[in-house]
Subunit: 334 residues, 2 copies
Amino acid sequence: MAELSEELKKFIAHVAGLVDGYIYARVHGEPQALYEAALHLIRAGGKRLRPVVVIAVAEALGESAEKALPFAAAVELVHNFTLIHDDIMDRDEMRRGVPTVHKLWGEPMAITAGDLLFSKAFEVLSDAVDKGVPPARVVKAARQLARASSIVAEGQALDMMFEEEEDIGVEDYLKMIYKKTGALFEASAVLGGLASTEDEGLLGSLATYGRSIGIAFQIRDDVLSIIGEEEQLGKPVYNDIREGKKTLPIIYALEKLEEEERERLRSILGRKDASMDELREAAELVKKSGAVEYAEKLAEEYMKRALAALTVLPENRYRKMLEELAIFAVKRTK
Amino acid sequence: MAELSEELKKFIAHVAGLVDGYIYARVHGEPQALYEAALHLIRAGGKRLRPVVVIAVAEALGESAEKALPFAAAVELVHNFTLIHDDIMDRDEMRRGVPTVHKLWGEPMAITAGDLLFSKAFEVLSDAVDKGVPPARVVKAARQLARASSIVAEGQALDMMFEEEEDIGVEDYLKMIYKKTGALFEASAVLGGLASTEDEGLLGSLATYGRSIGIAFQIRDDVLSIIGEEEQLGKPVYNDIREGKKTLPIIYALEKLEEEERERLRSILGRKDASMDELREAAELVKKSGAVEYAEKLAEEYMKRALAALTVLPENRYRKMLEELAIFAVKRTK
């Protein structure tokens, strides 16, 4: 894997400590089972990349991490809420190396636990006024996070609908992953900016940065589902094939493979009872089509867009880490 | 039924028109299936009582309905989001006289549709700054609505957990219905206040009003599930008995009935396959215990608490309608 610099590793660990501490301090109550279920995936790990974006942007603009912390915790809470609900809908059983929330607590409690994290996100976001962020900017942050959450819901609906549709192209895919993943990274970068400024031009560039790394991350995720290894991913490989997800490598392969191989791939896609051999065969067909190289090239384009957008920030170590993060998005192996 | 005055009826229709118009203007997008699912229950009807509280409070304090409208729409969106998710968890098939969202669109789309309404609530709430509500008060409103939503999630979890527990008392029940129903009425009254003022004392009294009518409404709801008629309710009668819900009349009957009748009642509670005759028999046992009179008396106490809290408002027609609403909460037959 593209190794992260020591500095970025330390910064990620630092942000994770801050954000986790803040979340645990703010998300507790009764009944205990509900709060255990709600915090389960957060405790299990995760990279905290969205909070890293929030806080790195704020610090790049000269603001303290403390001031941006409510925003950082809020986006992480929204992210985890969507994971809990997505796992129910996709019937996924493992995430971050542990059983999913609905596997452990049942679907009704998992639905409610997700709802709780969502409302907690907006409670926590409002704390920013107590940290000295002007109320007008906190309202803008709430609006941005709410809009992003609506877009994520649209993306989730599209993702489900695409499973049933034959005729999904690259454009459809890019729209869907912008909604499902890009919008929350976009909000993260903008919220980091709002901790410091209302400058619309600057916030617009930050939005481009966040959106672009989100899309790059998701393309990489979809590539890893084809080429990755289970132990590194913390979840079963080939999930996307088993569920018939219309990911970029799969869409590309369905377009480019010769008829016989395409039909063979199609016959395996979305079959919940496919054997490991069949899944592996499908993944090999996807690789053979050149889909991995194609997807990697597209991800790189988004990375470049992200890097260009960052030039609005002052040159300092935080901007440097945001640049490194954009590169990591497309090079990572887990 | 306790007939509503012509004036209150007109006001409710007026508020419903405003709020529905606002919601339809703000909640639309792609994919269409998601938005259809999200708006399904709102289109099917409902009393819009929470928006009525928001707007009546704001107008009682001399503020325009227009200014309070984003807050009113936001609480109605949160309410409808909770209905969609509750129906999934309770496996209810009918609501407001129409099939529930998950019956028509399936569970995954229903979960996502609920999530969408939740995020739209915070988008819409933020519109209040555009209507001239000072940002500091909009942040307070967001925080209040987010807290209320967290409490609703706690209440939903308790409600589910109570179904499995034998030993639920009146205190447990009251705590649960405060969370499940009282908290959102509380937020409605406070949000109406925040459209006009930050006076903590006044907002505290409004909170008491809202919380009290919410609890009174829920007690009445639980009574109607025992004594009501299906046609009026728009959903099957005796649902609570079939699902083994620990409602006030049922808790009271389990405490007061002689052993033989108590065991008979217990043997029917929570049996999804109970016949209509058995359900009717269980309801008769509940009535025989004196539970209906007991619950009605308790609801009346909350009504009185609500009326006392209203005296902080100027005496005008809006305060009068809020008083009437408190009385309606305990007298209504549907």
